[in-house]
Symmetry: C2
Subunit: 188 residues, 2 copies
């Protein structure tokens, strides 16, 4: 069995990474999606090992100390999230195509630890469309709108750090392009 290659899917806030991952999980069950470790508490309906690996701060710290995480970060200064390395390496060794859906900072960390991975940037169909999704329904004040636009601008500027850019104009089309980049024949 030839080892598979890790695929990292990242992109700006609000581009639709979660929706694309959900579509991929449904239509391409042969792709293994990485399950993150987190120190936040499980919400109702969330299952250990399926949605997240729930860990205490002590357990998370031990994983960091033992270099068991491919990347890790604190989100909103509150909870830690990380990608367990062993599960990813086991799937790849078994020849199972593995996908990691992650934010931009995480993708840059994975490049440091696993540079041979395939890095895909999920991009909005246009700047205007991303602004529309980010700025939303006009409920934000001017400062919040400014902040979100700055986020979008900087995140979009990171696109050319990636091996491939996939436009999320249509969820199923974007998913099919991603699996095609992973060497899987997309459903026609």
């Amino acid at each position: 069995m030839e080892p598979a290659r890790l695929t990292v899917l990242a992109g700006p806030t609000a581009v639709g990474k979660g929706t694309v991952s959900a579509d991929l999980r449904k239509r391409y069950p042969q792709v293994w999606l990485s399950v993150s470790a987190t120190t936040r508490k499980a919400r109702p309906g969330e299952i250990e090992g399926v949605h997240y690996h729930f860990a205490s701060a002590d357990e998370f710290a031990r994983m960091v100390a033992d270099h068991e995480l491919l990347e890790w970060a604190v989100v909103h200064g509150r909870h830690w999230y990380g990608t367990p390395r062993a599960a990813v390496e086991e799937r790849l060794a078994e020849g199972v195509p593995a996908l990691l859906e992650i934010d931009l900072a995480g993708a840059r960390q994975v490049r440091a630890t696993m540079p041979e991975a395939r890095f895909i940037f999920l991009a909005p169909p246009s700047w205007e469309e991303l602004v529309r999704r980010l700025v939303g329904r006009g409920t934000e004040d001017a400062e919040e709108r400014e902040r979100r636009l700055a986020t979008a601008k900087v995140e979009l500027a990171a696109a050319d750090e990636f091996d491939h850019v996939v436009i999320n104009d249509d969820v199923q089309r974007a998913t099919d392009e991603i699996v095609s980049l992973m060497g899987i024949t997309p459903h026609s």
Copy 2:
């Protein structure tokens, strides 16, 4: 002139990186400290090019797109910060010892882009002392205290990713150890 080596100083929240940097700036003016770029507005008394390089979101995005930043991140979801690569490389080429004071996530990014740098972890004298500095004056509620302890545990666990660990038991002693690691004879 032999090129110098970049030194990266990182460590957990509240360990005293800023105090050590200030002491180093005062007593060892031959060390060049990197000046970060940021999208936040200048505060009264802050000088462009001394405290920060103040940039618009457009300018910051251009620097990201042109790979002009050694590392960059959004802080508290509000403002972007980054380390301009050119100034660091110019100082090093001139043989000037350069120091970058940065958070843990930034240090891991610099390792990806400049693995030949010297990575120093500034550590508290003890776990109890860090907890004391983090948890503070008993004004936080239980959840906030829990959150800060989790942060400290995970950040401390990252120490062995670094080349050297310097204990911040006494600011001047810690500074002297850092410059000594940089190949500079400390003041006796």
